[in-house]
Amino acid sequence: MKTPQAHAPPPAPAPGAARRAALGGSFLSGAVGRLLPASVPFRYFGAAVVFHLAAWLVVLLSAADWPAWRGGLGWPLAALHLVTLGTLAASAIGASLQLLPVATRMPVRWPRLPALLWWIYVPGVVVLTAGMGLARPPWLALGAAGVIAVLLGYGLLLALNLRGARGMAGVVLHGWGALIALALLLASATALVMLWLGRPLLDRDSARGLHLAAGVFGFMGLLALGLSSVLLPMFALGRVPDDRRQLAAGGAALTAVALAAAAALAPAVAMPLRVTALLCGAVGLVLHLRLMRGVLAGAMRPDLGWGGRLMHMGWAGLALTLVLAAAALAADAASPWARLFGLAAVGGWLTSFLFGVLQRILPFLAAMHAAQGRRRAPTPSALTLGRALAWHAVAHALALVLLAAGIAASSALLVRAAGATGTVGAAAFAVFLATLLQRLRRAMAAPAD
């Protein structure tokens, strides 16, 4: 810290001019131009938590279907989409629309639109997954139409935000990659729905391969990797990684996704494309982990508690995903490696990472919201039910291990145990969220000081 002699200070306000325009965090109202009202991301996060609980309940109740399931219609497919669409994509919408404006320094265009889209998205996911579970293609098509329409609207908002972005080139690159992947995801989803309706646009293997590459690794994966450069510094109070290193890591990840997507559309050269995609993915992962380690190494708050442990578990899950992908490439189609690869990607990587993020960001956003007009606003820690988060994290990890064992051993008993354990964890997270909202409501009801 320098003295005034060493460095001239900015002009100080005139005596008496320090008129109080607002108290505490009441500036949030002034930040509306850049940040969405908390109710918008919270409704998506709330839906994600409910769909997460529903997914584990479906696993519990449909355990007998899992050993024979190979990817067709049925409750295992419904459980998968309750996680991917209901939990991961819903959270991605809430988190990206809340956080990207901070990174890009561009407000969300039409801030009321995300709130309206929620009313189409949630019923859409319910109808879509019910159609999958009950093997009713018309329901599936109806639900898919709603979900695809919402994701198109979300994609438009994302594109408008990225187009006007200022700074954070690495995050923006990941964002554009995720957006292109979203377009491929929606195209492949349409092709799959048409297949189930008996009007094929694309062969089944190509549509499924494209859906997996574009959805899990492209849309969700690139968003998770890109937003990490905003989220981790924010949570840990560390420095944002260098743009060039972000671009290098993002470039490798984007190349991997592009090659995996191309492999789905070019069966004749699928194997070399997939092997190259795997190698690029491994390079991207190493570069990304080095960035994240750099953020934590110099951070003011390197220990992120249970949320941090889940984020680390997510990164380990991504590494395991790549190993299992290699095993699946070397094995025959009937082996369990492909299903374990899918579980590692969706459960081990994305879901673990997402809930690590949610554990940290939900109390933070709630405290921001509660601060409006108050000198003494509740702190994030005062809104957090810590025990519920510990229960959730432990149960989440155990449930994934049990589910992997159940898939590998074709054991309905182990899958049922996974469903029960996952339900406990998901319920614990729901209790955490309900408690947080209750405490938030109480804080908001208290008279402003």
């Binding site: 900015p10 320090a18 850049r34 109070l237 994030p380």
Partner: protein
């Protein structure tokens, strides 16, 4: 790191610390302000923040530290905050 080297806080003639974080990308302003609060917040002086936008992420972190913020008059286009312990 690609971010510019920030100017440190300075002690103004009004008896307050001043920190100018205008033009810095997020979360650099947040980090600089909190580091100032953590390192020098115990000296009883208020901290005047000269910002170019409302630091929405700051308030929850301040609350965790027992601090609060109020907006005071600043230059056109500036968001000027006075931070103090509660």
């Amino acid at each position: 790191m690609s971010m510019p080297t920030p100017e440190p806080a300075t002690l103004g003639s009004d008896g307050c610390w001043h920190i100018d974080v205008r033009g810095l990308p997020p979360p650099q302003p947040l980090l600089l302000i909190l580091r100032q609060v953590d390192d020098h917040g115990h000296d009883g002086r208020a901290l005047i923040v000269h910002h170019d936008r409302d630091p929405a992420m700051l308030y929850a972190e301040l609350a965790e530290r027992g601090w609060w913020a109020e907006r005071i008059d600043g230059d056109p286009g500036e968001v000027r905050l006075r931070l103090a312990a509660t």
